[in-house]
C-alpha cells in the first residue's frame, strides 16, 4: 500500500472484526483484508480470547457433495447467487451477507457450530469461481444443487427429492 490511510484501515479492521465474529480463519482474513498478519493475529486474540487455529484450510470439493453438507452449501450458493444478481453486492460483502442469511435459515443448535462455516462458504464461492464446482438442476423440484463440474448431470435428482435411505436418521440429526 502506497499511502496508509487511517480511515481505510479503520474500515478494514471493522470488516475483519465482523469476519472473525462469523468464524473466519486467518487465511481468509489475510486474503480479504489488507491488514498485516500481526495485526490480524492480535485482533483475533482480542476478539476470541484464543489463538486462531493453525493448519491448512479444508481444500476438498468432495465435502460439498456429501448429503447434508450439500443441502447447506446449495442453500448458501443459491442465496449468494441471488444477492449478486439481484441486489448488486459482490466480493466479500456478498459472502458475508449470504452467510448471515444462511444462518438465519439454518440456525445451529445453541451449543453447536454451524454445519457450513464461513471459511467453508468462502471456499465454496472460490470453487465456483474456479469452475471446480457448479450447480445442477434437479429433475423433480427444479432447484439448483452443488455438483462437480465434470459430473454428468443430465438426469440429476437432488438429495432432498431422493433421500438416501439412512439420511438424517443419525443421533445428531434426531437431537436437532
Amino acid at each position: 500500500m502506497a499511502s496508509k490511510s487511517v480511515l481505510s484501515e479503520a474500515r478494514e479492521i471493522g470488516l475483519a472484526t465482523e469476519l472473525i465474529r462469523l468464524g473466519a480463519r486467518l487465511q481468509l482474513l489475510e486474503l480479504e483484508t489488507s491488514l498485516s498478519r500481526e495485526r490480524l493475529l492480535k485482533l483475533y486474540k482480542e476478539l476470541k480470547g484464543v489463538s486462531p487455529p493453525k493448519g491448512m484450510l479444508p481444500f476438498s470439493t468432495d465435502w460439498f457433495i456429501t448429503w447434508q453438507p450439500n443441502i447447506h452449501s446449495s442453500l448458501f450458493i443459491n442465496i449468494h447467487r441471488y444477492l449478486t444478481t439481484h441486489a448488486g453486492v459482490s466480493g466479500i460483502e456478498a459472502v458475508m451477507k449470504a452467510y448471515q442469511l444462511y444462518l438465519e435459515q439454518m440456525p445451529p443448535a445453541p451449543t453447536e457450530e454451524p454445519l457450513l462455516s464461513l471459511t467453508r462458504a468462502w471456499t465454496l464461492v472460490r470453487f465456483f469461481d474456479g469452475r471446480m464446482l457448479t450447480t445442477a438442476r434437479c429433475r423433480e423440484c427444479g432447484g439448483d444443487f452443488v455438483t462437480h463440474s465434470f459430473s454428468l448431470s443430465q438426469d440429476y435428482a437432488c438429495g432432498l427429492c431422493h433421500m438416501p435411505s439412512r439420511a438424517g436418521k443419525g443421533r445428531k440429526a434426531r437431537a436437532a
Binding site: A87, L101, G168
Partner: protein
C-alpha cells in the same frame, strides 16, 4: 366478516406490509431484497416513499403483496407432513432463492 370489514383488513395488511418492507430496505437493502423477493428497482422505489405516499398506496382495496409461491412444488413442500420440518424448509428456501424476482416490467 362482511365485505367492509374485509376491505379494512386488506388495507391494514397493505399498510403493515409496506411499512415493514420500507423499514427492512432502509436497514439493509441487500438482505431485504433477498428476504422480500423483490427486484432492486422496486426496493429503491419503496425506500424513497414518503409516509403520505405509503398511506395512499396502502389504501387500495386490493392486496398489494402477492403470493410468492407460483410453484406448486414449493407450496406442497412447505405444507407436506412426510418430511421433517427443518428439511422441507431448507428445500423450500433453496427453491425460493432460485426463483426470479418480482420486477417492474
Amino acid at each position: 366478516m362482511n365485505t367492509n370489514d374485509m376491505m379494512a383488513e386488506i388495507r391494514d395488511a397493505n399498510l403493515n406490509y409496506l411499512m415493514l418492507a420500507r423499514q427492512m430496505i432502509r436497514a439493509d437493502k441487500a438482505c431485504a431484497i433477498y428476504r422480500l423477493g423483490i427486484s432492486a428497482e422496486i426496493a429503491s422505489l419503496l425506500e424513497s416513499l414518503s409516509n403520505a405516499q405509503l398511506l395512499k398506496l396502502s389504501s387500495s382495496n386490493l392486496m398489494l403483496a402477492r403470493f410468492r409461491f407460483d410453484d406448486i412444488a414449493i407450496l406442497g413442500m412447505l405444507t407436506s407432513h412426510s418430511k421433517e420440518r427443518g428439511l422441507s424448509q431448507a428445500h423450500a428456501a433453496i427453491l425460493m432463492a432460485g426463483q426470479p424476482v418480482e420486477e417492474i416490467n
